[in-house]
């Protein structure tokens, strides 16, 4: 099941060229950008792991695009997203967030029914991927578990 999350998620995956244009758009609005990744596809999983620090004062998309590629190389079987934050007074929120990488195989979710008192039923969505430990969820080899890089100080 293809996860649809963030802007453009119902479109075909963006090419690097299209990503560059989106970054350009964010920079034109003076939104600082950052990159985050995760292997927990649950929609309520809000806090992803940061790939390095947010990049402030950029003028050109090249530097961020390089980081996107570096993050993809390190985590080819993870979800990776680019986030643009609007810091202007009155908004101060994420202005744009879109996926730039997804696992090659996305198994999807199952619905769990929990029977409670008086035959009441509570529903839960459960991602099949999260049955396995973090770092081994997608792909044949998974990613390196344990010592995962977060992008700081990489050469």
């Amino acid at each position: 099941m293809r996860i649809t999350q963030g802007t453009f998620s119902f479109l075909p995956d963006l090419t690097d060229d299209e990503i560059r244009l989106q970054i350009d758009y964010a920079l034109a609005h003076e939104w600082p950008l950052s990159i985050e990744f995760t292997d927990d596809p649950h929609p309520r999983n809000t806090y992803w792991e940061m790939w390095g620090l947010p990049m402030f004062d950029l003028q050109d998309p090249a530097a961020l695009l390089d980081e996107v590629r570096a993050c993809r190389d390190e985590h080819p079987e993870h979800y990776v997203r680019v986030i643009a934050y609007d810091a202007s007074l009155g908004r101060q929120t994420v202005a744009l967030s879109f996926l730039v990488n997804r696992p090659s195989n996305e198994p999807g979710f199952r619905l769990e029914r929990q029977e409670g008192k008086d035959r009441q039923i509570a529903y839960t969505t459960h991602a099949y991927a999260t049955d396995r430990p973090s770092g081994q969820r997608y792909g044949r080899h998974g990613s390196h578990d344990g010592a995962r890089s977060n992008g700081d100080g990489r050469g």
Binding site: P12, D13, L14, T15, D16, D17, E18, G52, L53, M55, D57, L58, Q59, D60, A62, A63, L64, D66, R69, R72, V100, N101, D152, G153, R154, G155
Partner: protein
């Protein structure tokens, strides 16, 4: 021939699920295809120059910067070479992208930063840079305070400068010989790496005093070989400084009386010989102090009624009260 070879369909490859990648080299190749010329075409170099705004930038440089003849000469040469390179490339002769990293040597206040900004504009016009903005960095911005701090710091600055000019002021402070624990060397290494990797969208300008720069290059031969253009900024003569001062006061809506004019000339002759003279910057400071004295003269003198002419004219006493005439800055 150009455009029909499948490259034009690149933009639609996003229809496939695979996330494709376009490297800088491919983007370059695509742009080249669009502008390509065949062997018997002719090109008007003048038009190329006009389109790229080369002459606008060079003329602006001539207008705004006083003196600096050798620097302007070097820039004209460089601009001519780059224009020809661009056209040659359109004929399909693949010349390697010339190394554009530069080294500006000269005393403080000789216009290095200003020229760096102009170079940014020039290279943007010619399509060698995408934005042409200037990011100024000193040792503090590049070198970290503890192990592992330097690399992200330097990379952050390099990231900000992508598509433009990275102006490293007083670059020799990066290298501290004899201090094993200094992280400056690491910053230099990363900078070198960036100069090599991002050759197509980053121009690094190293600036500083000539003699210290020479020592710096001796200690870092890798840097020496990657910097192609060494530009030396001469000191301003007293006459040039007077012209600069006139430009500055005109910008502030002021003017010199004729006595003040000769006083200024004398002042600059003396000031140049004294320590801590910082070229145009010292002129600016001297003018600021003169304006303060003028304000005091107008407000505290016997006759406190003033007209427009009084308010906008700097008189000789405003300049002559300076310590420089009394033997100067040594007293500090």
């Amino acid at each position: 021939m150009a455009g029909a070879d499948g490259r034009t369909s690149f933009g639609t490859s996003g229809r496939s699920a695979a996330v494709s990648r376009e490297t800088a080299a491919e983007a370059e190749a695509r742009r080249r295809d669009e502008e390509a010329l065949s062997a018997d075409d002719t090109v008007d170099l003048g038009e190329v120059r006009r389109e790229a705004g080369v002459d606008d930038v060079l003329d602006a440089l001539d207008r705004e910067l006083v003196g600096l003849a050798p620097v302007k000469e070097r820039l004209r040469e460089l601009a001519a070479l780059l224009v020809v390179d661009r056209v040659r490339e359109r004929f399909g002769i693949t010349t390697d992208r010339p190394t554009l990293h530069m080294c500006f040597t000269g005393n403080p206040g000789t216009g290095k930063t200003t020229v760096a900004q102009r170079i940014g504009e020039l290279l943007t016009g010619l399509g060698f840079l995408r934005r042409g903005h200037v990011v100024t960095a000193t040792r503090d911005d590049l070198v970290g305070e503890y192990v592992g701090h330097t690399a992200p710091k330097t990379k952050e600055i390099v990231g900000k400068a992508r598509g433009g000019v990275l102006f490293v002021d007083e670059a020799y402070y990066l290298h501290r010989p004899g201090n094993e624990r200094d992280y400056g060397g690491e910053a230099i290494e990363i900078l070198l790496q960036a100069m090599e990797d991002h050759r197509d969208d980053l121009v690094v300008v190293l600036a500083g005093y000539a003699d210290r720069m020479a020592t710096f290059f001796e200690a870092n031969p890798g840097m020496q070989s990657r910097v192609a253009h060494h530009v030396d900024f001469p000191d301003f003569s007293a006459d040039e400084l007077v012209t600069i001062a006139e430009g500055m006061v005109a910008d502030q809506g002021l003017r010199f009386s004729s006595e003040a004019h000769s006083a200024l000339h004398e002042y600059l002759e003396l000031r140049r010989e004294q320590p801590w003279f910082a070229g145009a910057r010292s002129v600016r400071n001297a003018l600021d102090r003169a304006r303060m004295r003028q304000a005091r003269r107008l407000g505290e003198g016997g006759d406190t009624k003033v007209g427009l002419a009084d308010l906008t004219t700097l008189e000789a006493p405003d300049l002559r009260a300076s310590r420089v005439f009394a033997g100067g800055h040594r007293a500090e």
